[in-house]
Symmetry: C2
Subunit: 419 residues, 2 copies
C-alpha cells in the first residue's frame, strides 16, 4: 500500500498550538493540509502538532527541514505573544526577521479601521518576515503567509484559521504546479475484508496503482492512487473497482452517503420524511447538513416518549402496549404515519435501544428496528448493532440513510420497468 511512498517527494506537516499537544482540541488542519499535499503528489511522512514554544518548534524544524522537500507549518502567525512560528522558523533557518513596510502599511489600514490603538504594536509583529521570504497575501484576516526556499527544499508558513489557510495553500500548490491523481470510492454495508478482497482481485498485482481501505462504522472507503501507472489507467481501474463493489458503492465523486441520498431523491423527484426514536434526530440532521436538502426533505419527527409517537405519528397505543416501542409493528406504524403526515414519498422510521440502559435479554442494547414506507408498501428490518450509545446511534443513522437510498433505487427500477 505504501511501497510507493519513497519514490515521491517527501513532505512534513506541522500544526502549532498548545491546545493541540495537550489534546484539548482535535486537529483538523493537519489532515486537511496532508490531503492537499498527497493530492498534489507529495508523500507526507509525518504530521506533527507542536506547542507554542519557540525552542521546541525550532528544534523540531531543525530535525525535519533537511529530510523533507516540503515542510508546511500552520498556526502561530497571529499577533499575540503565543504566536511564535515566525521566530522559530527564523531560528531554524539561521536567518533574521526583517520588517516588511508594504505589509505594515496594509496592517496599518486594518488597525485604523478597527481603531484598537493599544493593539497596534502587537498587530504590527505580523509585518516581520524571514529574510528571503516570498509573501502570500491574506485574502481574509491580517496574517500573511511565507514561502522560504532553503538548501534542502521549501518551508511554507500558513496562518491557523482554516478560512485564511486554505486559499494560501491552494495558491502555493497551484504556483508549485502540483498535479492530482486519486480516486475515492465509497461503500456502505460491506465488511472491510470483503471490500479489500474485491479491490485486490481487480488490481491483481497491477503496478503503479496504490490503494488504501478505510473503514468507519457501517461505511468503507477505497482510495486509489496513481503512483506511476498514469491517470488513464487510474480511471480505468477505478471504473472496474466500482463495478466489483456493485450497488454497495454509493459514491465515486467524494460525496457522502447523505449527499448521495439527497442527489438521488432530487433526480428521482421523490420527497423524504423521517421518524426517529433512538437516533434522536441524527438522520434528519445528516440529511439537512446537505446544501439543497430543502428541495426533497419534507421534515421529521423525533418521537422519544411513547405518547408522542401516538400524538405526532398516529401510532396506536394498542400497538405500543402489545409489541413495545422497539418492534416491527411500531416501526411500521411510525413510518406510515410519517409518510402520511409529512406528505412524503418515502418515510424512514428508526426505533431501538441505544443504551447504556434500557436493554433486556430479549431486546439487548443495540437492538434496532427500521421501517421504510414507500409507494410500493412498507418493508421492515431488524439489526443488532454493536458499540456504545454513540456507536449504536451512528450505525443506525448510516443504516437508515442506506435504506432510503435502496428504496429510491428500487422505486427508480420499478418506474423504468414494464408496468
Amino acid at each position: 500500500v505504501s511501497a510507493d511512498a519513497r519514490s515521491r517527494r517527501s513532505a512534513a506537516v506541522i500544526v502549532v498550538g498548545t491546545e493541540l499537544t495537550t489534546g484539548l482540541r482535535i486537529d483538523t488542519n493537519g489532515p486537511e493540509v496532508a490531503r492537499a499535499l498527497e493530492h498534489a503528489g507529495f508523500s507526507v511522512d509525518v504530521t506533527a502538532a507542536l506547542p507554542d514554544e519557540v525552542l521546541v518548534l525550532a528544534r523540531f524544524l531543525g530535525d525535519v527541514l533537511p529530510s523533507h522537500k516540503l515542510v508546511v507549518v500552520t498556526g502561530g502567525l497571529g499577533p499575540t505573544h503565543d504566536d511564535i512560528t515566525r521566530e522559530a522558523a527564523a531560528h531554524a533557518l539561521g536567518r533574521p526577521l526583517v520588517h516588511d513596510p508594504a505589509i505594515a502599511e496594509t496592517l496599518g489600514a486594518a488597525i485604523a479601521r478597527h481603531a484598537e490603538a493599544e493593539a497596534a504594536p502587537r498587530v504590527l509583529r505580523q509585518a516581520d518576515v524571514i529574510e528571503g521570504a516570498a509573501v502570500l497575501a491574506p485574502t481574509i484576516g491580517t496574517a500573511p503567509g511565507q514561502v522560504l526556499e532553503h538548501a534542502d527544499g521549501t518551508l511554507v508558513l500558513l496562518p491557523g484559521p482554516p478560512a485564511e489557510m486554505r486559499p494560501m495553500l491552494s495558491a502555493f500548490l497551484e504556483h508549485a504546479g502540483a498535479s492530482a491523481a486519486t480516486r475515492i470510492l465509497r461503500t456502505v454495508g460491506l465488511p472491510e475484508s470483503d471490500v479489500q478482497l474485491r479491490v485486490d482481485r481487480v488490481l491483481d498485482g497491477a503496478a503503479g496503482i496504490g490503494f488504501t481501505v478505510l473503514a468507519s462504522p457501517g461505511l468503507t472507503d477505497v482510495v486509489l492512487r496513481d503512483v506511476g501507472a498514469g491517470e488513464m489507467v487510474l480511471s480505468d481501474i477505478a471504473e472496474k473497482v466500482a463495478v466489483a463493489l456493485g450497488s454497495a458503492c454509493y459514491s465515486a465523486d467524494g460525496s457522502t452517503l447523505a449527499e448521495a441520498v439527497i442527489a438521488l431523491a432530487a433526480a428521482s423527484g421523490l420527497s423524504i420524511a423521517t421518524a426517529e426514536s433512538c437516533t434522536g434526530g441524527g438522520v434528519a440532521a445528516a440529511l439537512t447538513d446537505v446544501p439543497g436538502a430543502s428541495a426533497v426533505f419534507r421534515g421529521g419527527a423525533v418521537t422519544y416518549a411513547d405518547d408522542v409517537k401516538t400524538a405526532l405519528l398516529g401510532v396506536e397505543p394498542d400497538v405500543l402496549a402489545s409489541h413495545g416501542a422497539v418492534s416491527a409493528e411500531t416501526a411500521t406504524s411510525m413510518a406510515t404515519g410519517a409518510r402520511e403526515r409529512f406528505a412524503a414519498d418515502i418515510a424512514i422510521a428508526v426505533t431501538g435501544i441505544a443504551g447504556p440502559s434500557g436493554g433486556s435479554p430479549s431486546k439487548p442494547v443495540g437492538t434496532v428496528w427500521f421501517a421504510v414506507a414507500a409507494p410500493g408498501g412498507v418493508t421492515t428490518l431488524l439489526r443488532t448493532l454493536s458499540g456504545d450509545r454513540n456507536g449504536v446511534r451512528t450505525r443506525a443513522t448510516v443504516m437508515a440513510l442506506e435504506l432510503i437510498r435502496q428504496a429510491i433505487a428500487s422505486r427508480a427500477r420499478h418506474e423504468s420497468g414494464a408496468d
Copy 2:
C-alpha cells in the same frame, strides 16, 4: 500560558497509520493520549502521526527518544504486514525482537477459537516482543502492549483501537504513579477575549497555576492547571474563576452544554421539546446524545417544508404568508405548537437561513429566529450568526441549548421565589 512546560517531564505521542499522514482519517487517539499524559503531569511537546513504514518510524523514534522522558506510540501492533511498530522500535533501540512463548500460547488459544488456521502465522507475529520489554496484557483484543526502559527514559507501545489502548494506558500511568491536577470551566455566550480578561483578573499573576482558553463556535472553555501551586490552591482559584464567569459558566465538571441542560431539566422536573427548521434535528440530536435524555426529552419536530410546520405544529398558513417562515411570529407559533403537542414544559423553536442559498437583503444567510415557550410565556430572540452552512447550524444549535438552559434556570428562580 505554557511557561510551565519546561519544568515538567517532557513526553512525545506518536500515532502510526498511513491513513492519518495522508489525511484520510482524523486522529483522535493522539489527543486522547496527550490529555491523559498532561493530566498525569507530563508535558507533551509533540504529537505526531507517522506512516506504516519501518524506516520512517524508526528514524523518527531515533530523533525523539533521547529528548523525551516518555514516548508513547499507538497503532501498528496488529498481525498484518502493515503493522511495523515492533520492528521500527526494535530498530530505534538497537535491540532484537524475541519470541515470547507465554504470549504465543494465549494467541494460540485465540486462534483455535476463531479457527482461521491460515491466519495463524500472522497472528503469532504479535508474540514478538522487544528484548527487555515489560508486557501489558490485553484486556480485549489480542495485541499486547510493551513498556521499554532505555537510557534516556521510557518507550511505551500500545495497540491502535481505542478500546484496547485505553485500559493499557491507564494501567501504565497508574503503575508509573502519575498524579492529576487540572480543572475545566466551560462557558457559553461570552467572547473569548472577555473570558481571558476575567481569568487574568482572578489569577493576577499568581504563581504555579497555568491556564489555557479554548474557543469553539459560541462556546469558550478555561483549563486551569496546577504547575506547582498545589491542588488546594488550584481548587480555590477554580472556584473564584467560576464566580467571575458568572451564569455564563455552565459546567465545572467537564460536562457538555447538552449534558448540563439534561441534568438541569432532570433536577427541576421539567420536560423539553424541540421544533427545528434550519438546525434540521441538530438540537434534538445533541440532547439525545446524552445518556438518560429520555427522562426529560419528549421529542421534536423537524419542520423543513412550510406546510409541515402547519400540519405538525399548527402554525397558521396566514402567519407564514404574512411574516414568512423566518420570523418572530413563526418561531413563536412553532414553539407554542411544540409545547402543546409534545406536552412538554419547555419548547424551543429555531427557524433561520443556514445557506448557502435562501438569503435576501432583509434576511441574509445567518438570520435565525429563536422562540422559547415556557410556563411563564414565550420569549423570542433574533440573531445573525456568522459562518458557512455548517457554522450557522452549529452556532444556532448552541444558542438553542443555551436558551433552554436559561429558561430552566429562570423557572427555577421563579419557583423558589415568594409566589
